[in-house]
Symmetry: C2
Subunit: 148 residues, 2 copies
């Protein structure tokens, strides 16, 4: 590692932040052709992942799981509802809260999505060890930046 990486360099190529930004967009671009076949965008896919794990999720919990604001989720969920994959209903016990649940079409889509993680894992081309290291470091980054 040269000295430029250890201090106030303004060189683009030195920046972890840029590597992160580029990698994130590159990976979501890799998902696009696969998700197009399911009629989903990448953030919509993430919402579906949460719902396939646990149905009947309040918008609040979706936001907590995905680190997204209600101002991002509300329109996104409207689009998922319009495409027939989810339902949104006010909870009877707390009228402030809206529970998101899967329709039959949303439940069925899970099977078509099963092939995606391994297909993506393929294009990412990391060894399991590299993958584990990457996840570890990214979680560190997320926690540190957020916990500021």
């Amino acid at each position: 590692m040269d000295q430029a990486t250890t201090r106030g360099s303004l060189l683009l190529e030195d920046q972890l932040c840029f590597a992160l930004y580029a990698a994130s967009r590159s990976v979501t671009a890799g998902y696009r052709p696969l998700l197009d076949e399911l009629g989903l965008t990448y953030p919509q896919y993430l919402v579906m992942l949460v719902l396939w794990e646990r149905d009947q999720v309040p918008v609040r919990d979706l936001g907590a799981a995905l680190h997204l604001e209600s101002s991002t989720l509300s329109p996104l969920l409207k689009r998922l509802e319009a495409s027939g994959l989810i339902r949104r209903e006010r909870r009877a016990d707390d009228e402030r809260s809206v529970a998101v649940s899967l329709t039959q079409a949303g439940t069925d889509l899970r099977e078509k999505a099963r092939a995606i993680p391994s297909a993506i894992g393929e294009t990412m081309g990391l060894t399991p060890e590299q993958r584990a290291t990457a996840i570890h470091l990214l979680r560190l980054l997320t926690a540190n930046a957020a916990g500021n």
Copy 2:
């Protein structure tokens, strides 16, 4: 590593892609208060980084450096021009190309930006070794996903 990480799990928490997505947004959020003081957004800051390295850059080269389409850069550059930091001029030798250059204000902003990388490095809180590993893995990911 449990077996869920090695195959078709649809669990959100297993996904490298989500860790990447969350970390990227988390880090750019960390930049926001610092960049607000310079009147820049994060992608605008990346453009300025390129220009501080090398002035008189064609839009095409900016796109190549940042992996961005002209449809993203054109409006962004208009906003930077409107805020007085850059100039855009058609090249005389090739009228298709537009060269982007710094104004005096754009050049001066560099000094105010010098403190940013170390401040961010602080909030990221990785050791130099972790940082190098992260950059290495992210570049691998970017190259593999793009080279598909």
